[in-house]
């Protein structure tokens, strides 16, 4: 089997050979590619912002990112969600200094320009005395996301006015992924969003979510602590391994691993939805740095015991102190360093696990293709990276809609 790639052309699709499971390592650390990602991926896609339950009332806000830039998601007086860029239009200073909270307006602490919950400029100190009322307020509101939509309480935003509606982007597959979490009841985010930075490329973090191959090794000490033998672990992840695999258009993915059911909405949102009830978002902060946000969901009507159980299962596993994820951070960083190797510049990363093992599932009546096969497989990573190339090669949304890959067995 070949182990090299054709010399890189200008097309990103040519930076990989998904049939043979080869991917150019450079895409995980190169700055030029990253700058284009900010435009073509994060500048176009619908990005998860936060959940309705985090900002129930007018003035409630939550601060997150679109690409590298700070945005404020706020509940306006009309009951809608606004996504505002956290930079004053006068001279660019920040208008909000908190991760979350409640406010009636956003005031810039430099000269006091003030914006309402819709981002409109409503206050200009000295407007009469100093500006002679010449400031055209309508033109100087805060920058905003181009579109904001939500699906079952999950608020998304896009910077691209030409992006199709959220549900088109999600497709049947994407919706199912969110449904799985939303169906846990009348869900809400438990107070406390963990924020964690790593010196790693955001895509390497994403790939890990459906990577059941690393579990037995990376987390061996955990199973040791849990006294489950390697044999049991392998049985679970290597043998009892057949099942549904969902590959959605535009790069959405779900494994259906019992106790995991890790779903990813392209590009950077993951839902852990079987044992856990968690959303992880991985914001890029440079080609070799990311910031991860962790949201835990629980049914508002859950009993105190149920609620505690959900939270404990999560805390015990996730975040920089979680007994599972403690082990992952270092691997993300090592892989990012390895991807930048010049000596190995021409040796692609290996994505050959489960090549061709996923078959189209017959007689599944869902409105999107479902595959079946080994669920411990790199089929997820191959699909995501192939879709990523579609996004990177497309000139605009029309181009992407026309030319994006359709799920097929591989």
């Amino acid at each position: 089997m070949t182990t090299t790639l054709p010399k890189t052309s200008l097309s990103f699709r040519d930076r990989m050979d998904v049939e043979n499971g080869l991917v150019d390592r450079k895409i995980f650390s190169d700055d030029e590619i990253y700058q284009l990602e900010l435009k073509r991926v994060f500048g176009r896609a619908w990005l998860f912002m936060c959940h309705d339950s985090q900002i129930p009332n007018s003035g409630d806000f939550f601060q997150t990112f679109m690409g590298e830039e700070k945005v404020i998601v706020v509940r306006n007086r009309q009951g809608g969600a606004e996504v505002l860029i956290n930079a004053c239009r006068h001279r660019g200073a920040a208008v909000c200094r908190a991760h979350s909270g409640n406010t009636s307006k956003f005031m810039c602490a430099y000269h006091g320009w003030t914006y309402d919950l819709n981002g409109n400029l409503i206050g200009v100190p000295g407007n009469a005395e100093l500006y002679d009322k010449t400031i055209d307020r309508k033109s100087w509101g805060l920058g905003k996301a181009a579109q904001v939509m939500s699906y079952r309480g999950f608020i998304f935003a896009t910077l691209d006015p030409e992006a199709p509606p959220l549900e088109t982007f999600l497709g049947g597959a994407g919706k199912v992924m969110i449904d799985k979490l939303a169906d846990y009841g009348d869900i809400e985010v438990v107070p406390g969003v963990i924020r964690h930075r790593l010196k790693a490329n955001w895509k390497i973090g994403m790939e890990n979510d459906q990577d059941y191959y690393h579990v037995g090794i990376t987390h061996a000490s955990l199973f040791d602590a849990w006294q489950s033998s390697r044999a049991e672990v392998n049985q679970q992840y290597w043998i009892d391994n057949k099942g549904d695999i969902i590959l959605g258009e535009y790069g959405h993915i779900t494994d259906t691993m019992p106790g995991h059911f890790h779903s990813s909405i392209f590009p950077h949102m993951s839902l852990l939805t079987d044992l856990l009830q968690v959303v992880i978002v991985r914001h890029p902060k440079g080609p070799q740095e990311l910031e991860m946000l962790y949201f835990t969901f629980v049914d508002k009507n859950a009993s105190p015991e149920e609620r505690k159980a959900v939270i404990d299962r999560n805390i015990m596993r996730l975040g920089p102190s979680g007994m599972v994820e403690q082990d992952d951070g270092e691997n993300f960083e090592f892989c990012t360093t390895g991807s930048a190797s010049q000596l190995l510049r021409d040796r692609p990363f290996n994505y050959q696990m489960g090549l061709g093992s996923a078959k189209l599932k017959e007689g599944d009546d869902r409105d999107f293709p479902v595959f079946e096969g080994d669920r411990t497989s790199e089929v997820y990573a191959r699909w995501r990276i192939q879709c990523w190339a579609d996004w990177m090669d497309a000139e605009n949304w029309d181009d992407l809609i026309t030319n994006h890959s359709l799920p097929a067995a591989r």
Binding site: G101, S221, A225, M323
Partner: protein, 169 residues
């Protein structure tokens, strides 16, 4: 309020012994310093508006970095002592430093002690992390020995920049 020199000295020495166990990676011995009914808790800290600081830390029962009882701690200890704990392979060079140790409340057999901590970690070649914050411990004397009943750890950063928080505080 403050304790007399001898009482203060006993508590300081107790913490210094504890730090030594951690920095020597003698986690099982460290575990023995906790009572059966202990709690080890590190809430999440969030950047909040000045007027809304009451929610700066998550509350018991909400999300936390650590919220362990003795069996939970025991699992973490077992893990750290496992031969497959790559994060301990090789062992990070850790240094726990406690400052401004103060008794802030005495209630029956239990005394509440506050201290500021600097937890320095150097790993592999050049990987350095600093964790800084305040700790609050409820100590109880159990047949002569001081033991930790409840430990609350209040980290100063709201965004964790370290690769992980494998070790104890």
């Amino acid at each position: 309020m403050y304790l007399n020199a001898e009482a203060q000295n006993e508590i300081e020495q107790f913490f210094y012994e504890e730090a030594a166990l951690l920095d020597e990676h003698r986690y099982s011995d460290w575990l023995k310093l906790f009572t059966e009914d202990c709690r080890y808790w590190m809430p999440i800290r969030q950047t909040r508006l000045a007027t809304q600081m009451e929610d700066e830390f998550t509350k018991p029962g909400e999300i936390a970095f650590f919220d362990d009882d003795l069996p939970g701690l025991a699992k973490r200890v077992h893990k750290l002592e496992s031969p497959y704990a790559w994060g301990e392979s090789p062992r990070p060079r850790t240094r726990h430093m406690y400052h401004n140790i103060r008794a802030i409340a005495v209630e029956g057999a239990e005394i509440t002690v506050s201290c500021n901590f600097v937890f320095y970690r150097s790993q592999l070649e050049d990987d350095v992390d600093w964790f800084v914050g305040r700790r609050e411990d409820i100590l109880r004397r159990v047949d002569g020995q001081l033991k930790i009943v409840w430990r609350s750890i209040f980290l100063d950063q709201t965004v964790i920049e370290a690769k992980n928080m494998n070790q104890f505080f």
